[in-house]
């Protein structure tokens, strides 16, 4: 029997889990990653991973986890896959534990769990405050074992350029570029899985890593893949400022008892606890971000008149803090030069996560046959707002589906690509890169990126107004024109980062347009998408998934009904507990 080959692009949690499952299903896997997979953005996840193991005897269950996830996502998530994810979560955490993830423990030696936003249960397993790093390392180790056994081949330091399509439009490989040698090569496979993460860099300084440009998703979108719910961008309520990035201060800080406050009339004002008594500091992220924004921008009550409020853990026992939050408090201390054990941290919201992404079916396959997607680059699990500690879960669960389903797909597949079809598609990519090498205009790609990101952050994040979004739409088109006038300062044929960044910038512009247009069209407020002109959720008109298709004139938007087979939409509020309450 012929060997089943799967190509996986991206080596974060989703890519590595897909790899492990595909190998177990009998496939040989090639992984392509810009960075050594151990350095993928999953390392930045801090707080933990949700699993309703109910070790605290609170009566938690996968059903309650499911209800809180759908409710937290303002009913935009398709319910069947979300239910599948929540039901799988206890076994996923057990599996990670078996791999050796050093999860924090109870005195009896069981897994410890803490609280996270949008839930009233201790449901989040954690390894200090670097859970993403620890999970990624565990999967990295398992994949290294397969690599040593010859079942996996890693292409680290390679950038995905495009998929290869056969005559019927089915995906049967990729074209990729060696980031050191700058050579472009085709790679054939029975199926391709993208696990390339989110597009945070469109917003410039965010909590994301430098590789999170959304470049790969942007490429396949331009090749015909549908992108769904792009307008739903999560802004995390608590991050610290910086000139190079905004560093996340995990929600787990509040899960462990951290309190948010500012000064009003010379007194401490715990505004989240006052406004949302049922959840307090653990309201979902969209709610907390809007509240902090309101306090700073509308009420003018930011600390020292600036965009910042306090996140305070100074009242918590220091040993406990060190054991459970050491990693994140260390980041604050190193970068801000103040000890959060002694002085309250100063924080403000920052762009963090994209709920939207490539449209996939319940088998994680995009609308392009043979092209799958898993992890943050797809749209499936978080609706209009993601609950904290559900992202690591969705990455792993998505990989557990994409791995076996991609192998199954290959086994039932007919037809193949001809060598002349491969050659012409490789040539196309070579020409694109050659055109970039030859750009001799006056614009600097990094400065154009800064303009794009500042504009997106100002107008397409927490508060969205149609008039301003319309202006942004026009300016993105202007930037696309100015893009053509870029001049490269580096034309080396060796390890040329500027050429690659310029290519990524185009993909960022294309995705920015889709995000912005999606936001403009959606005249309602739902989850992370908030328009003061349309402050309410409007299920009659907008309980539907946005689906964007690329055209050279801009995105074409269509809409699809949401799967609401289990839970009937009801108003979402966090001042009272109406989700996940024991019946």
């Amino acid at each position: 029997m012929a060997e089943t080959k799967i190509i996986i692009v991206g080596g974060g949690l989703a890519g590595l889990m897909t790899t492990i499952k595909a190998v177990e299903a009998g496939a040989m896997v090639d992984i392509f990653s810009i960075v050594p997979v151990k350095r993928s953005h999953s390392v930045c996840a801090q707080g933990g991973i949700n699993a309703s193991v109910n070790t605290k005897g609170e009566g938690d269950s996968p059903q309650i986890h499911f209800e809180e996830t759908i409710y937290g996502g303002d009913f935009l998530g398709n319910q069947l896959p979300v239910k599948g994810m929540c039901e799988a979560s206890p076994n996923i955490v057990y599996l990670l534990d078996r791999m050796g993830v050093p999860f924090n423990r109870t005195p009896e030696g069981n897994l410890d769990f803490r609280r996270f936003g949008g839930s009233r249960y201790h449901r989040t397993a954690f390894a200090g405050a670097t859970t993403g790093q620890q999970l990624l390392y565990a999967l990295d180790e398992q994949v290294r074992r397969f690599e040593a056994e010859g079942k996996v081949k890693k292409y680290e330091g390679w950038e995905f350029l495009s998929i290869l399509k056969d005559g019927k439009g089915s995906c049967c490989g990729i074209v990729a570029l060696d980031l050191i040698r700058m050579e472009i090569h085709p790679f054939l496979a029975g199926a391709v899985v993208l696990a390339t993460g989110g597009p945070g860099l469109i917003f410039g300084k965010t909590t994301n890593s430098l590789t999170n440009t959304g470049g790969a998703a942007g490429s396949v979108y331009q090749e015909g893949a549908i992108y769904a719910n792009g307008e739903f961008i999560q802004v995390h309520p608590t991050a610290i400022s910086g000139g190079d990035k905004l560093r996340l201060i995990s929600e787990s800080v509040r899960g462990e008892g951290g309190r948010v406050w500012t000064l009003k009339d010379g007194k401490r004002w715990y505004f989240l606890e006052e406004w949302y008594p049922a959840y307090g500091n653990l309201v979902p992220r969209d709610i907390a971000s809007r509240a902090i924004y309101k306090v700073c921008r509308e009420l003018g009550l930011g600390i020292d008149g600036k965009d910042q409020v306090y996140l305070d853990v100074t009242h918590i026992d220091k040993k406990r803090l060190r054991e459970r939050l050491g990693g994140v408090l260390e980041i604050y201390e190193k970068f801000m030069g103040e000890s959060p054990y002694e002085v309250p941290m100063k924080v403000f919201p920052a762009v963090h996560y994209s709920m939207g992404g490539l449209w996939v079916d319940f088998d994680q396959m995009t609308n392009i046959s043979g092209l799958f997607a898993a992890g943050e680059c797809e749209y499936q699990y978080h609706g209009a707002n993601r609950l904290g500690a559900n992202s690591l879960l969705s990455c792993i669960y998505g990989g557990m589906i994409a791995g076996p389903k991609s192998v199954e797909f290959v086994k039932s597949k007919a037809g193949s690509i001809t060598s002349s079809e491969v050659d012409s598609q490789v040539l196309e990519q070579k020409q694109t890169i050659e055109e970039i090498y030859n750009m001799q205009g006056v614009e600097n790609p990094h400065r154009l990126h800064q303009e794009l990101s500042e504009m997106m952050t100002s107008h397409v994040t927490i508060v969205r107004e149609n008039k301003k979004i319309e202006v942004v739409c026009g300016k993105i088109r202007d930037l696309m024109v100015r893009y053509q006038k870029i001049g490269l300062s580096d034309t080396n044929r060796w390890a040329n980062g500027e050429v690659l960044f310029t290519r990524q910038l185009w993909n960022m512009l294309v995705l920015a347009e889709l995000i912005t247009l999606g936001a403009l069209q959606r005249d309602e407020s739902r989850g992370a998408h908030y328009k003061p002109g349309f402050p309410d959720r409007n299920d009659e008109e907008w309980l539907k998934t946005t689906k964007a298709t690329y055209t050279s004139q801009g995105p074409r938007l269509e809409y699809e009904a949401v799967d609401i087979q289990y839970l009937k939409p009801r108003p979402r509020r966090y001042d009272q507990a109406t989700a996940g309450v024991k019946k």
């Binding site: 492990i20 177990e24 960075v35 050594p36 151990k38 350095r39 993928s40 953005h41 390392v43 930045c44 076994n91 057990y94 599996l95 078996r98 791999m99 050796g100 050093p102 999860f103 924090n104 423990r105 009896e108 030696g109 069981n110 897994l111 390894a127 200090g128 670097t130 790093q133 620890q134 180790e141 398992q142 290294r144 074992r145 050191i180 890593s209 430098l210 590789t211 910086g242 000139g243 190079d244 560093r247 054991e323 990693g327 980041i331 190193k334 970068f335 801000m336 030069g337 557990m400 600097n444 990094h446 400065r447 800064q450 300062s489 580096d490 080396n492 060796w494 390890a495 980062g497 500027e498």
Partner: protein
């Protein structure tokens, strides 16, 4: 953001591995909180040397920018460390940036650390699972053991410990502190311990734990404060015990 001050940098340049190395000086406007990466980003936006000559933007590695991915290791004013957590305000000028010297220099500040990942493969740094299907909960672990394992498990494979180690260089086979400490980690895990012997075997021959010269530089430069010398001592003891058991035929 510009508070009027300029920061001066002296940066190692090399176009490719066969090109000769050279130095270039840069000046960037300072802003509060600026780190070395932030300064390199400013240079990308305006790639010109301090005397105004256009040049290529220096190539450097980085990803997470919060000291958890291990990418941006370089030698800054003579000390190996992560560039993201190197705040300009704490550094004397001109700030000198060099690539690590123990790994092949690919371009400017970029190096090839694949030897580190090969080391992890050599020692079998993983828990061999029966499979990822549901097999119930993992083994119970005491909070004390968890805290010990977590401290070791934060290793980012960044290379600081190897750059600082006199025994680790291109002509030596020494596997170095990072991989040895991972052996300690996996031998500590209840099911990882079942393969402890194989990992110790990998550290017995040339390049193994006995190559450590006890300079103790590794533990001083580790950005994650991993007790590397304790790990080396502990693994040396495990190797000795393993060798004696083998000799006696246990």
């Amino acid at each position: 953001m510009n508070s009027g001050k300029n920061v001066r940098f002296r940066i190692h340049r090399r176009e490719n591995p066969s090109a000769p190395p050279r130095w270039e000086e840069f000046e960037v406007s300072y802003y509060p909180g600026m780190n070395v990466i932030g300064a390199l980003m400013e240079i990308q936006k305006n790639p010109a040397t301090a005397d105004g000559k256009p040049t290529t933007p220096p190539a450097w590695e980085a990803n997470c920018l919060e000291e958890v991915c291990g990418s941006c290791t370089m030698v800054i004013n003579g000390a190996v460390r992560q560039a993201c957590s190197a705040l300009v305000v704490n550094l004397s000028q001109p700030i000198e940036l060099r690539p690590m010297s123990k790994f092949p220099n690919l371009r400017d500040l970029k190096v090839d650390r694949s030897r580190m990942f090969e080391g992890l493969k050599k020692v079998g740094a993983w828990v061999p699972l029966d499979g990822t299907h549901a097999l119930g909960a993992g083994p119970k672990v005491s909070p004390e053991t968890q805290q010990k394992a977590y401290a070791l498990s934060r290793c980012m494979t960044c290379g600081c410990c190897l750059e600082a180690c006199p025994q680790y260089h291109s002509r030596s086979q020494f596997i170095g502190a990072a991989a040895i400490s991972q052996v300690r980690l996996f031998n500590l895990h209840p099911s990882g311990a079942m393969n402890a012997g194989e990992r110790l075997e990998a550290l017995m021959g040339p390049g193994g734990v006995s190559n450590c010269g006890n300079a103790q530089n590794c533990v001083k430069v580790c950005p994650k404060e991993i007790p590397l010398t304790t790990s080396i001592g502990e693994v040396e003891w495990q190797v000795t015990q393993h060798a004696i058991k083998k000799l006696l035929g246990f």
